[in-house]
Amino acid sequence: MSRLLLAVPAMLGVFVVVFFVIRMLPGDSAEAMLGASATDAQIETYRAAHGLDKPAPVQFWIALKNLFRGDLGDSLSHYRPVLSVVLERLPSTIELAAYGIVLGSVFAVILGVVAASFRGRWPDLIITAYSTFGMSLPTFYIGLWILMVFAVKLDVIPVSASAVEGLPRWKTLFGPVLTIVVGGSLVRTTRSAILEILEEDFIRTARAKGVPKALILFRHALGNALIPIITMVGYGLAVSFGGAIVLETVFGRSGVGKLLIDAITVRDYPLVQGTTFVIALFMIVANLLTDVAAGFADPRIRVAGAGEL
């Protein structure tokens, strides 16, 4: 509940920061839209028509009032309401982030469990080295390598997904999702969570019962490690989303991330404002969802009442 209340100032903060930061960039919408050949008179007319001639605080006040009415304004480059432009692109980004998070987590968790169960021996060393390496490389760098291998060398995916009509969905997802998976950011979290849990008394109980090693790892240890792992997924959501934005640009997928980059390039202020606003909102919702998921993984923090005896 307090998390929900905190969301309001957080969203407003994002709105304010973005509003002033984009106006600090050199050039403005009029110059970017009309091009270098535009006359001063044309530029003045454009600014007046879109309210860009007013002082920044006045513009801000108007934008804020509209925001509270649920109006994010019209896009300067798409010529229609910002909200509809963003909502059109959002599913594609959610799809990418969701696949990335789910497959990336499953892969990382399996590696982490394997590493923990071979603690200090060669499978552990290889996996730990791999994940340290993967995490230290920037997302776009891994993405470019994957593009090199799978698009240029092997030709299984196109270099730019949006440039090809009627592409099967998996081909548009393959590159960016693989990049997130390879990044392997949860491997070490999982490994250390499992190692810690293996020291717990209830693991000794499970061994005393005669539970086989694989079940101890995946049922007893992982069952408990899910709590810290889900929390980490929650913390990592912003990063995953950021990663999705970069990856859309690298792999030419048309999602919210690419929309945002393009909007910044043409100084489409309302669109930048609207896109960041929706992304922030989405992130807050996703964080709340991880809280709920963590609650499901841990009966001790599940809402009391039902099973209480």
């Binding site: 008394d201 000794r204 061994r207 005393a208 005669g210």
Partner: protein, 330 residues
Amino acid sequence: MSDGQRLLEIKDLRISFSVGEDTVRAVNGVSLTLDRGEALGVVGESGCGKSVTFSSVMGLLPSPPAVIEGEIVFDGRDVTKLSDRQMRRVRGKDIAMIFQEPMRSLNPVMRIGNQIVEALLLHGAVSRGQVWTRALELLKLVEVPDAPSRLHCYPHQLSGGLRQRIMIAMALASQPRILLADEPTTALDVTIQAQILELLKRVQRETGMSIVIITHDLGVVADIVDNVAVFYAGVIVEKADKYSLFRSPMHPYTIGLLNCIPTLQTKRKRLYVIEGNIPDPARLPIGCAFSPRCAYATERCLTEKPETRECAPGHFCACHLAGQIDPLNP
């Protein structure tokens, strides 16, 4: 005691751990037998190797770092020689174990029922169709009130005493022949302690299994065991049936322990405490390990380790002075 009665025989067990430069000698030549239906009490201060000894019987000691020598013969087989897989079929099935910390010994994210059912299914104690009926029976056997609804509980919803009952129910799942109870009541309130011990005694009598109750408090188990083995610094310093042990203790350490138990007679006197601490298992004395704390220690005690001798029928003691000390006047 004929060999046909013998269920478990530990022969000259030695267990050490390499910790950095040091070798921690946790168990230094323990020999012990357990018969069918016997209730054995294992007593000794904290750190003298009780848990390590019986964890090794369960194959629960990770080696490395543990180095295990000697034999642990269960049912004709030396369990120290069994593979992981073979040992797993003994653990929980033939020999079960419960622990000191019921609060932390159950998986916090699994329902009680599922944890019991897991134990039932592992060793094929009952068919799949009957596991839930059997789980319920087990809960009733260990006198858990409101049993059907408890099956759906998570451990954090239960008290320590109830959790220890659940541990016992789980341990009984495949009708083991030996139940090892490592300080089962140490973490519990005094009233709950008595109930749990009473329960252990009752199920032991009903099932005819053997039971080992490990404790640092002799008074706690005096009622429910037949024999007592007293541990000190990784050896058994004295073993006898409980009547001889209580009536005529021979080892100065046992005498000290018995004087620690408050009784009506000692009420007026200040309670006796044994001065000093147990020796560091990485730096054991050359002679008798108890000699630094022993009021009777002679030159010989400091230089020569005492052998275990049968000082009276069925009464074993490892002390050079066994039989020469008056227990009533220490």
